[in-house]
Symmetry: C2
Subunit: 516 residues, 2 copies
């Protein structure tokens, strides 16, 4: 079944791109060939309307076994890691932060659009922004993180200064760690939570520096940009990262993973639970069962940056070894914290390592006794944490745990379904075409052909809604991302989701798009 000849070169240091078999990645919209009947109709309407380049590519599901590729550090020395640069896209605002006029779209002149829908839009635009209780009026931030924050969480950010080794703060930190156990659904006392100052990315460094050693093998399941980056991080630490890639919008299948695991002894397997660049959801439970069956010694590392707090994760039941995340997404606390849950098995692996950890700030050798002390409400010190961020995290975790977690995940599913239905009824497609691949906290939406993010994002901003542009390098200009996590979903008083759906509809109309 599995053709090992089709693996990329693993031992040479040549750039893999010339030998890369990942042809489906070059397709602008890989799922167009697999639309269900009603959506195929919508696609044909769009194709009629914008015939220039919106083509239906044939499915290449049969070539999925070609998709193994090896990650190399082949980028120019200081190339940007992402398409997120104004070098490549028009700014939404001018230097003073004022909204720039949207660029005239290339499918209809701006004047024509204005004449098309003049009164309706003007009345909307003059409406004052809703005042969100104690926060200054501002557009609703509906990108896949940072998200909108609850008032009480933001107020906790202004907590007066405290000593990082004083008992009141130590108690707060200790409670945060205990609450994280509940959020990750682990009651195994051998599990160990970590909270460090940093971004989600620091979680990758922690895995790479503490759980693997130079020369170790890692299997990286690829569902978007963040697998490339995690692999890049692992290679930085001398780990051999082999990527198992799926076409954009899909995920590696269990039989492919099983085949890969049978080929080689991997120290760790990494999976992005929700890839923020594509909105693709990975299925963790059966993945874990497969890994445990085929390669029981392989540690299972879940990048949960865009999933913890909005997708169910049962750390103990699913036998996970690391789930890493950040504060600013579904957990609902401002950015600045790298958050991890580590299994007892992973801690033992760490303690058994031959060489010292290959990071200092990210070293569990330095942090493990500190975290254990904090949770025991004993003061200790390695590096100064951020008391204000820890207070905000305490507030957000308290809010999350005040309701059943199952209800929280259901709320996110319901909001996601509502949004995905609206997207479909607008005649738009998602990067993740199959329902089982669709995240519940974000939606990555292909724009109609000929419309790019800089055409539509400023118009959304004028309506008080901020979406994100594309992040997957190969198709960044073709799609937008709508984040629906945290209070925008769970606080029924907030109009964010409905307003965003309406605004998307109106903004597309403004640039000349009409869903039939």
């Amino acid at each position: 079944m599995f053709d090992s000849e089709q693996l990329g070169p693993v031992n040479s240091r040549r750039c893999p791109h010339s030998t890369c078999k990942s042809r489906p990645l070059r397709r602008p919209s890989s799922d167009t060939g697999k639309l269900a009947a009603p959506r195929r109709l919508l696609a044909s309407i769009i194709t009629r309307r914008y015939p220039s380049s919106f083509t239906l590519a044939p499915s290449r599901a049969s070539s999925r076994l070609n998709l193994f590729s090896r990650h190399f550090d082949s980028k120019p020395f200081l190339e940007l890691n992402t398409p997120f640069s104004t070098e490549r896209s028009a700014p939404l605002e001018d230097d003073q932060g004022n909204l720039a006029k949207p660029k005239a779209p290339n499918i209809a002149p701006a004047e024509a659009i204005k004449e098309q829908t003049p009164k309706k839009l003007e009345s909307r635009e003059k409406k004052p922004q809703p005042v969100m209780s104690s926060q200054a009026p501002h557009p609703a931030l509906l990108i896949p993180g940072p998200i909108e924050f609850d008032d009480a969480v933001l107020q906790s950010m202004s907590h007066f200064s405290e000593s990082h080794v004083g008992q009141p703060f130590v108690n707060t930190f200790g409670e945060v760690l205990s609450m994280l156990r509940k959020l990750f659904q682990t009651s195994d006392p051998a599990s160990q939570p970590f909270v460090l100052s940093g971004s989600g990315t620091l979680g990758w460094d922690q895995v790479a520096a503490n759980l693997v050693e130079p020369g170790d093998e890692a299997l990286v399941l690829h569902t978007g940009y963040f697998a490339d980056s995690f692999a890049d991080c692992l290679e930085t630490y001398g780990v051999k990262a082999t990527q198992l890639k799926a076409p954009i919008g899909e995920r590696p299948q269990l039989h492919e993973i099983e085949a890969a695991l049978s080929e080689k002894a991997y120290k760790i397997l990494t999976v992005t639970h929700v890839d923020t660049s594509t909105g693709v959801l990975s299925e963790i439970k059966t993945l874990s069962e497969t890994v445990r069956r085929v390669s029981p010694d392989t540690l299972i590392i879940v990048d949960g940056v865009c999933s913890v707090g909005c997708e169910e994760i049962r750390f103990d039941d699913w036998g996970l070894d690391v789930v890493l995340t950040a504060s600013q997404k579904a957990i609902g606390c401002p950015a600045g914290l790298s958050i991890l849950m580590v299994s007892g098995r992973a801690i033992e692996t760490f303690k058994a390592r031959k060489a010292r950890p290959t990071s200092y700030f990210g070293s569990w050798k330095n942090w493990l006794p500190i975290m254990q002390n904090y949770e025991a409400k004993k003061a200790s010190y390695f590096a100064t944490p951020s008391p204000q961020l820890i207070h905000a995290l305490h507030t957000s975790l308290t809010q999350i745990l005040s309701r059943p977690l199952a209800q929280r995940f259901e709320d996110h599913k319901a909001a996601s379904q509502k949004i995905k239905k609206a997207v479909t009824s607008l005649g738009l497609k998602q990067l993740a075409s199959k329902p089982e691949n669709q995240a519940n906290g974000m939606t990555a939406i292909y724009l109609p052909d000929g419309i790019t993010p800089p055409d539509v994002l400023p118009s959304l901003m004028k309506k008080g809604v901020i979406f994100a542009g594309g992040l997957h390098k190969e198709i960044a200009a073709k799609y937008i991302r709508f984040g629906h996590m945290g209070v925008s979903v769970t606080d029924s008083k907030r109009p964010d989701i409905n307003k965003a759906i309406e605004s998307l509809k109106d903004s597309l109309v403004e640039v000349g798009y009409k869903a039939d």
Copy 2:
């Protein structure tokens, strides 16, 4: 002059402690032999009062050339890095954050103390805490960081959520970077500021991962705990760190540094501008001149965590290569940011490195284009920064730069002199006995013999003042640290400094100490 025979072993991996010549480090108070006449009198009074162990050790300045030692990773695998653990000292508060009763001091029974000063203390204790404008009432945090924060800075921490790639936030970040150039007094366009989510410690990792390569040599000037840690960090990255140690309270002398630099080609030299564990100030200007003269290719790395914002630093004029710091000390912004200024020369060294940086989250390969884009007010992305912390930093830097920097440094000197005079008049000594070694933003104070931090800190806390305990492992139980940075010094409406001096006096009286 310089006896290379006295250097510790440099190539073996044996623990150095058996061969370490750092005898003065074993003295409990190395400077007692060198007191000026009036302070000698005070010391003799204290000695009469507490004759048990407060002995005057002879000066060993002549043995300074013995103090070279090599840093090794000889600690147990998970030993705590510091004495900051409740395993080793009594907590100040109980589990609920309430003040614990101070431990009965071992020099006088608690009852006796209570009878000694009953009414005066009770009236003080019943006074409500001063309300600090918009902040909840709280004790004044006068540890050497985190410090007290200005209201406007804390309010900026509650900023509503913004996209990290949206123009308003990008503008704010860009202005922060430009303001940092002013704070560090650099107008060289080749200099490069960095601001990352993390603690000050992450600055060490950035130096170790970007400027040196495995096998490179580093000379680490030791004035306290933080040199040990920086050396430990460098060793983590495979760099050979040689420490040049001074007795507690002193700093390596120029002729010693010159001798060391003549012995070996060091890629970098690191110096802690103010060591937070000892309050020792290093002199940077003449140090830099010496390094440039003796070893012009050696990069000069200044750990300015406890100095940037309260001690003068002229980045260009002094020819520095890296000054690294954190947000929560004299810059006056909550913890959570690692801040660096890097010279054009250091950036060139980084770009010329043979191997890729040995960190991912701390890699300038990843961050340099991002910082350059932010400063040019262009959106780009590597890892999500913390918009709230960046807003707070923007506010604090705006406040700092609204007055001449020279005035700010003078204010800190004046407050420091006032405090040091009060400490002396109380008959107490500093770890840094010589004025030229004394920091301007903190004071490390030896307690009278027989009195330990857990005796006096809870009493200070009751009076609304938080000081820190000792941090230098060998003498941690013998001294306390008083931080005097930022708004506590520059805001004339704040009573912090005077209140702290009075409280220290009263608290010592409470535990039975009397200065004659």
